[in-house]
Every structure is written in C-alpha cells, then in structure tokens.
Symmetry: C2
Subunit: 139 residues, 2 copies
Amino acid sequence: MRTDTRLPRVLHILLHLDEIKDPVTSERMGEMFGMDASLVRRMMGGLRNQGLVTSIKGHGGGWQLLRPTSEISLMDVYVALGSPTVFAIGAPEPSSPCLLEHAATGATRAAMNAAKRLFEQELRNVSVSDLAAAAKIGG
Amino acid sequence: MRTDTRLPRVLHILLHLDEIKDPVTSERMGEMFGMDASLVRRMMGGLRNQGLVTSIKGHGGGWQLLRPTSEISLMDVYVALGSPTVFAIGAPEPSSPCLLEHAATGATRAAMNAAKRLFEQELRNVSVSDLAAAAKIGG
DNA sequence: AGATTCGTTACTATTAAAGTCACATGAAAA
DNA sequence: TTTTCATGTGACTTTAATAGTAACGAATCT
C-alpha cells in the first residue's frame, strides 16, 4: 500500500476549520489542500460518524466542528479515521505449530505492540488545540 | 505495499540455522518455510553483508551462522534487512509554509518518532538466543 | 424549480514487498 | 576438466491498501 497520510492531513483540515468558523465545502477544502473534493468527503466522513464534525447539505452547507478543539485529541481523530494500520511491518499468524516460528512472531509482535501503545498514548496526550497553540508560537 | 514480514521470517530461519549447525541451502529453506529459494537468498543477502551469516557456494554449500545467537540482537537483524520502513502511517514534508500544516505534520511525526525509538529499543534488548530460550520453555 | 452540497459507488493509479523465472558465476566432486 | 551443485542477480508478475478521479442520486436551501 502507499503510506497512509490521512492523519496529518485531517488534522490540518481541522485546524483551518477551527479558524474559519463558518461551514466550509468539500470543494473549497479540495482547493485549499490540493486534493479532490470526494477524497475530503471520505476522510471527513469518519469524523462526522464519530461526532467530531457535522456536514450540512445544500446552499451554505459544508463542514463544521462540533466540539471545541481542546476536547478533540489526536487519538480521537485517529480512531475516527478507522484506527488505520500503524505498521508497515507485520508478523502474520504462525502457519505451523513450530515453537521457533512462534517465538520469532511473538517477539516481533511484542516490539510492535509496545511501540503502538506508545504511539497511541502520544496521540491521547495532544489535542487539536495544542497544535493550534504550537503553530501560533512558531512551534 | 504489502505488509513487510521479513523480520519474523528471517528470525525464524536464524533459529533453525542455529539448531542445524551444518550449512543449509536456500532450496531446503524454501521447502521448510514455504517460500521460493530466490526469496530466501535475497532476504539472507543482507545478513551476509552485515556479517551475521556466511553463504557457501557449490557442493555442500548453503547458509551458516557466523556468530553465536547470543551476540545477534533483533536490531542487528532489522538493520541487516535494510532498516525497513516501520510505519504504514506517514507525514509527508509540508507542501506549503502554512504553520497549521507544519503543526499537524510535526505532531504526527513526533508520535511516530517516539514509537519508533521504543520499537528499536525493544529490538536491541532481545537477542536471537533469547527467542530460542523462550521457545524451549514454551514462551 | 433549480442550484448547491453531501453521500456513495465504481474505477484507475501508485507503491513497495511478495513471489516467480532464468541464468551467470563460483566451488566442489567425479 | 567436465559435471553438478549452490549462490548472486536481474527482470518480471502479483498482491494489497491508500490515493486519486469521475459520476450521480439524495437532501437542502433560495
């Protein structure tokens, strides 16, 4: 697969949504972020389903935040995107009862699980408003 | 791309190599592990270049460990495979000077970097012989 | 009614590993 | 030295999942 770049792109969108306040159409976002409007709708769809944003049809419609950004963690966004696969590396279920294969698989998974837990913990510790604040002070 | 499963598979191979002692041909490994001999040679090639194993051509040839497994960490193996990309998630270099995009990208990368450091640390803390030991006690 | 905007489906492009073939190169054995 | 074995390597196809594109029905506002 290609690298999944949805998380940073959706975060970027949310940060702008927060500044604009008024509903922003998928079309407009497509222009702003250099992507197709359909792609915007698909990425944002998960966030709507999780109650992070709302989408309004028809004239004057578009996308809007439903919660203050201080109450949206990066983990919330990640989950709304469907908790996509974190690793490009994988350890498939052992195909044989071989204990050595099991050990090799288990060790690889253990390292990945530890890393995944930390990754998700980092996402939980940061809110979208933290990013806005970091941007303002030049971080 | 597909999920990269080379690390656990090469570890499995090394564990068997350690038990067999004598050189094992790519052909034989292919049968043992259900993969093409060429694929075995390509995966093991990196390990040879790093001095973890040796490959002997001609009659009675094949692959052999060059070091005790207690002196081969999982990190050594990972590096020998070319330090493959860890994450399926990515945060591409910002395409604009937008500070919000920069913040979104930076936060994603920060979480990934923390996770990657832990992943590699876990790999450093485990040797191939640790896996053999774990397999023996049923771990 | 008509224009706008989302919601969704279907399809193609992209990317890197997985897997397959073929063959040149080198080493041992007969 | 000829044959056989085994690695080393290049070219190619397959696979899997996101990225990207196009189209159109449904819902909403003017």
